[in-house]
Amino acid sequence: MMIETGAGFWSPLAMVAVVGAVAIAVFIARSFGRKNAGKDAGQALPFFSGNVVKDARIRPANMYWGFFEALHDYYFALKKMHSGIVNDYFFWFVLVIAAMAALFIFSGVL
């Protein structure tokens, strides 16, 4: 029914009820309009620059171009880190062991 998070509560059924009520209101409002408005008026056709292009779509590789351009340096460093060579995997493992041991030493535990 409801879960208590530390700072409040969350009730999924209440949310579904509210969404359902809003959906009913929207449906009622829609039913006051014209029936079958705009069917077969070319709404589902893909257009590029005003021309109908039958099988056009934006390829997933080209989405979020701006995001990747803005973070270009970060992705350059990330690509170098993910080289795919097994030896680098072991290098990171040794580094993590050394870092954890150093963390424990420099706080006076070890």
């Binding site: 530390g6 949310m15 997933p60 590789a61 995997y89 990171w92 535990v109």
Partner: protein, 516 residues
């Protein structure tokens, strides 16, 4: 019936193990009999896990001495002898998640792998993986944890490289096995260090006898790094994308729960074995750092991918970061009783609930990716498009999984993420903000994936594409229903599975007291 309930820990491991070795024999009798026996073995293990979970909820920690005259003879002379299995609420929590996904993966593989050869070996390895996962979460002994960890690694490596005609699968299997066996060697060395000082291998007895010398802390460093590698935390995560990407779809779903068994081992070492160490919050700090790195680097690598399964693999890394963040915050405040009751309990609750939800929605996503590969023959999103016209059910199930992983209400991902956000906020607001940004980027990458694969004009679909058979749709439908159900009624999981597990983690004394 009493026999089943009394010997449940051992039967849950032994029956899939026996069935695994029967697979080649039964394969001679026909594919149907072999598939039926594999399904029956995992279903039987599921029944045993359910009986054991009810037992643990009613009676607290359950111990079982393997090989004794009676299972209860754990400490006949005051100290534990033989291999002792010690099952508390955290073990049953992980076991329930593992065996459910294993059962659905078995059903899915029966249809998805029909056209392939060597299916005897496939089902044998899958049953070995199930037995090893259950063994890892049920054992109370550090060395048998190592043994089951190695069994899991070897069986998983064999399954990752299953498409042995391709070099890429063998490369992924090689990398996975290399890093996994080095991590397991570190676990063995740590077990050796602990054994050399205390002459004990039983985890509860070790926790009671621990004096926190230099060697003990070095053993903790080795154990924590090894299990961080096994669960796929950044910067030890690079094997995850190779392995999950190249494996068959059902195997990827099982690898998710196998990595979560590694996460279980990390929690067991941190909370139970070393729980009373002064400055254990340093391990909590390390888990928080690993968690934040995993969340952010996982999702930024995921959003760049073109291969649908590698994208989901990087998201698995990112979601593991959420689990590490939640439980790490809980571990950091373990010594401070006031903070634990304020937000520490809820942080661990959120982290563990996320483990359960992740197994469900990630399994669903990998099953849908497998369905797309089964039909279209390619995993590259740039070559796919418009599949929702021909595969409407798969598209809807993918949408359920994508909304769940992005943390959208009313799916189950939102419930666990909300608990993590709110409890981590009280620890440090910056971490909570990073978690929310990562959630946003998760949604963005799944919008890209969904629109790239399923949306688009009908003309973009290749010829011969039609909906996948019912054998693959049924597991997806079950998982989608569970994702929605646990999103609408999260308190069911919280009350019966998660809260006992959190109490088991925080109550180290109960675990020690059951054996010593």
């Amino acid at each position: 019936m009493i026999f089943l309930a009394e010997h449940a820990p051992v039967l849950a491991i032994a029956v899939p193990l026996l069935a695994a070795f029967l697979m080649p024999l039964l394969g001679r009798a026909g594919a149907k009999i072999r598939n039926l026996v594999a399904f029956a073995a995992i279903a039987f293990a599921g029944i045993e896990v359910a009986l054991l979970a009810l037992n643990v909820l009613a009676n607290g920690v359950v111990t079982y001495a393997v090989g004794a005259i009676a299972p209860g003879l754990v400490s006949p002379a005051g100290f534990p002898v033989r291999i002792v299995m010690e099952i508390d609420a955290l073990s049953t929590f992980m076991a329930v998640a593992s065996v459910s996904i294993a059962l659905l993966a078995c059903v899915y593989s029966m249809q998805a792998m029909k056209k392939h050869e060597n299916l005897d070996k496939y089902f044998a390895l899958m049953l070995l993986m199930t037995a090893a996962m259950l063994g890892m979460v049920f054992t109370g002994d550090l060395f048998s944890l190592f043994v089951f960890l190695e069994i899991l690694s070897i069986a998983s490596a064999g399954l990752i490289a299953f498409y042995s005609g391709r070099g890429e699968s063998a490369e992924a299997g090689f990398k996975y096995l290399a890093v996994s066996s080095v991590a397991a060697l570190m676990v063995l060395l740590a077990a050796g260090f602990l054994y050399s000082q205390y002459n004990l291998l039983n985890m509860a007895a070790l926790a009671g006898a621990m004096r926190f010398s230099f060697l003990d802390k070095f053993a903790l460093v080795l154990l924590a790094s090894a299990f961080a590698l096994k669960c796929g935390a950044v910067p030890l995560h690079m094997w995850v994308s190779d392995a999950y990407g190249e494996a068959p779809a059902a195997v990827s779903a099982m690898l998710v729960v196998a990595s979560q068994a590694g996460l279980y081992a990390l929690f067991r070492v941190g909370f139970t074995l070393y729980g009373s160490m002064p400055l254990i919050d340093l391990l909590g700090l390390a888990m928080i750092v690993l968690g934040v790195l995993s969340m952010f680097i996982g999702v930024t690598m995921a959003i760049k991918q073109s291969d649908i399964k590698r994208l989901m693999a990087y998201h698995a890394v990112s979601q593991t970061g959420y689990m590490l963040l939640g439980v790490g915050v809980g571990l950091s405040v373990l010594g401070n009783a006031a903070m634990v009751s304020e937000f520490g309990f809820r942080a661990i609750q959120g982290g563990l609930f996320h483990v359960f939800n992740h197994a469900l929605y990630k399994g669903l996503l990998f099953f849908t990716a497998g369905a797309v590969f089964y039909v279209a023959g390619t995993r590259d999103m740039n070559k796919l498009g418009g599949l929702a016209h021909k595969m409407p059910y798969t598209a809807v199930f993918f949408l359920f999984g994508a909304l769940a992983i992005a943390g959208m209400p009313p799916f189950n991902g939102f419930a666990s993420k909300l608990i993590i956000y709110e409890s981590v906020f009280e620890f440090s607001p910056v971490l909570s903000a990073i978690a929310m940004v990562v959630s946003l980027l998760t949604l963005a990458s799944f919008v890209k994936a969904f629109s790239g694969i399923f949306l688009g004009p009908k003309e973009a679909v290749q010829a011969g594409v039609k909906e996948v058979p019912i054998g693959m749709l049924a597991p997806m439908a079950i998982l989608a229903a569970l994702v929605l159900l646990f999103g609408l009624f999260p308190d069911l999981v919280l009350e019966w599975l998660v809260n006992p597990a959190v109490n088991a983690l925080l109550g180290q004394c109960g675990y020690i007291g059951a054996v010593v």
